[in-house]
Amino acid sequence: MRGGPRLLFIHAFLAAWAIVMVFPFVWMLSTSVKPATEIIQFPPPLLPHVPTFANYVRAFQAAPFGRFLVNSLIVTFVSTMVVLVTSSMAGYVFGKYRFPGRTVIFLILLATAILPLETYMVPLYLTMRDWRWINTYQGLLAPYLMMSFGVFIMRQYFQSTFPDDLMDAARIDGASEWRIFTHVAVPTALSAMAAVGIFAAIQAWTAFIWPLIIASTQNMYTTEVGLAVFQKRYTADYGAITAGAIVSILPVTAIFLFFRRYITQGIAFTGFR
């Protein structure tokens, strides 16, 4: 008897809250297909009366949006690949071998994981400047070549799930340690690597302050930086800015739709921010 109304209340609350959470997306999508006259109409119409894609066209004409997207894709792809290589190698070594310094090295790698880039970006920028990496892809990539969290996930996987027997069997067959890693260990670790890869990709795609500092000319802007700069420059054209914003969240939306399970599991696992 108590359960009925209580359950109804919970559902009502959760549903109302879901609407609040989704609303900014809906509103952004709706604004992006509104003609200019409807954008500044008050009271604002929830949905456009005359939907138009003109805002998207203008976004790509007013700003080199295509270039921003390509830059972001390059940085995200390379960062993800490098993080996967460094994390899986280190995670495998930490998880499966005993060697002098193992614990110390692992702790050092993890110890600074809590320190955000913002705390050490000034000297890192100076290093980039010495190397003449300002305004280059290498420069954009530099802080995103390793991920302590990735090492941690891979180590947990290899330690708890990957059996020693497989390694011993391969050794008896005469395989070298490297060959065991690339041909036996990695193929079993694909789902753990997917989780690490997704986080690396999201981290690189959503990076903001670092590309803002490193990219000094427009042709090196990532999507995030390009959006932020252009929304300042064209404050009046909210339709085009919103259209650009929609385009920039499409890749992350796709990742979320396909890999949601990995993402929530990964967060539950380590509390990655």
Binding site: A18, P24, M28, P44, T86, V122, E177, A228, I246, T264
Partner: protein
């Protein structure tokens, strides 16, 4: 590589490894394993040393110098930058703003996150759908989301003011006064991080064995009593973890402030000055790298203190 030289190297390697094995009193196989381990770790350690550990150390080093990017002379000033910080109204204002922001965002998002997690932890239909919806903002890039909210908060055409007008509220200049800008950024940020807190707390709730609740039911406890006597105490470590992580993240707030309050009409310093913005401006717009490093050290210390609190409080419950 020629055959002879390869053969020569091989002999040389063999002699060398035999010598190392004798010295370290380990077998040839063990040596090969160690070599594999260190080679496997070499790339990440190299990246880590150059691009993370060294910069962290150099932040402290730079903070003791009057290090200006353009000026050739970069004199050692000891604690001079830190003394200047104590006098700097921009920095003090930023520290205050960031702290206010952190307190509000963390309190609201943890309480709401906990409420949502408790509701979702029951055997409810559509739980997965709700979870997914609440979680979406977490992984979204900040810039487009800040753009979306900036339009919602628009004083003249914004839909929020329109909603509020139903309740007779006069149009609010959300992003034109510092106090309202703070409120707007807090609302936006709670929306963004809520799902993260919810997921972690939900995992914590689900790990509480049902036997505790069954025992409590036998003892006649219900609803609120169960929550206070069982859920909260058992969930304490995770709540603390969520609070600490959220606070660290909140102290790093930058992007939404940059996008939402740094409009062309606002003052050059911006409506709402936060810590990372001050570091960014001093370091990369005024090129006062030494001063900016001192600010970064303050941020580093805040993060470290928060982390130590977490370790200190969590240790007993982990054992």
């Amino acid at each position: 590589m020629g055959v002879t030289s390869a053969g020569g190297e091989l002999r040389y390697d063999a002699a060398l490894s035999a010598w190392i094995c004798r010295r370290l009193r380990i077998s040839r196989v063990t040596l090969a394993t160690y070599v594999f381990c260190y080679t496997g770790l070499a790339p990440i350690l190299l990246v880590y040393w150059i691009l993370r550990l060294q910069p962290i150390g150099r932040t402290f080093y730079l903070s003791f110098y009057d290090w200006h990017l353009i000026r050739p002379l970069k004199p050692f000033v000891g604690l001079g930058n830190y003394q200047d910080l104590l006098q700097d109204q921009n920095f003090l204002g930023a520290l205050r703003n960031t702290t206010v922001f952190a307190v509000f965002v963390v309190t609201i998002s943890v309480v709401l996150g906990l409420a949502l997690a408790v509701m979702l932890s029951g055997k409810l239909r559509l739980t997965g759908v709700y979870q997914a919806i609440y979680f979406v903002p977490v992984i979204m890039p900040m810039v487009p989301m800040a753009i979306a909210w900036k339009w919602i908060f628009d004083a003249r055409y914004g839909i929020l003011n329109y909603f509020l007008s139903w309740f007779g509220v006069q149009p609010i200049g959300w992003l034109t006064s510092p106090d309202m800008a703070m409120a707007a950024i807090i609302i936006m940020s709670v929306w963004k991080v809520l799902g993260y807190n919810m997921v972690l707390l939900l995992v914590g709730l689900q790990s509480i064995p049902t036997i505790y609740y069954e025992a409590a039911s036998i003892d006649g406890a219900a609803g609120w009593a169960k929550f206070r006597r069982i859920t909260l105490p058992l969930l304490e470590p995770i709540i603390l973890f969520v609070i600490i992580v959220s606070t660290i993240n909140a102290y790093n707030v930058f992007t939404q402030v940059y996008v939402m309050t740094q409009g062309s009409q606002a003052a050059p310093g911006g409506l709402l000055r936060v810590l990372v913005f001050d570091i960014y401006q001093n370091g990369f717009q005024f090129f006062k790298m030494g001063f900016a490093s001192a600010e970064a050290v303050v941020l580093t210390i805040i993060v470290i203190v928060l982390t130590l609190i977490q370790f200190r409080v969590m240790r007993p419950s982990v054992e």
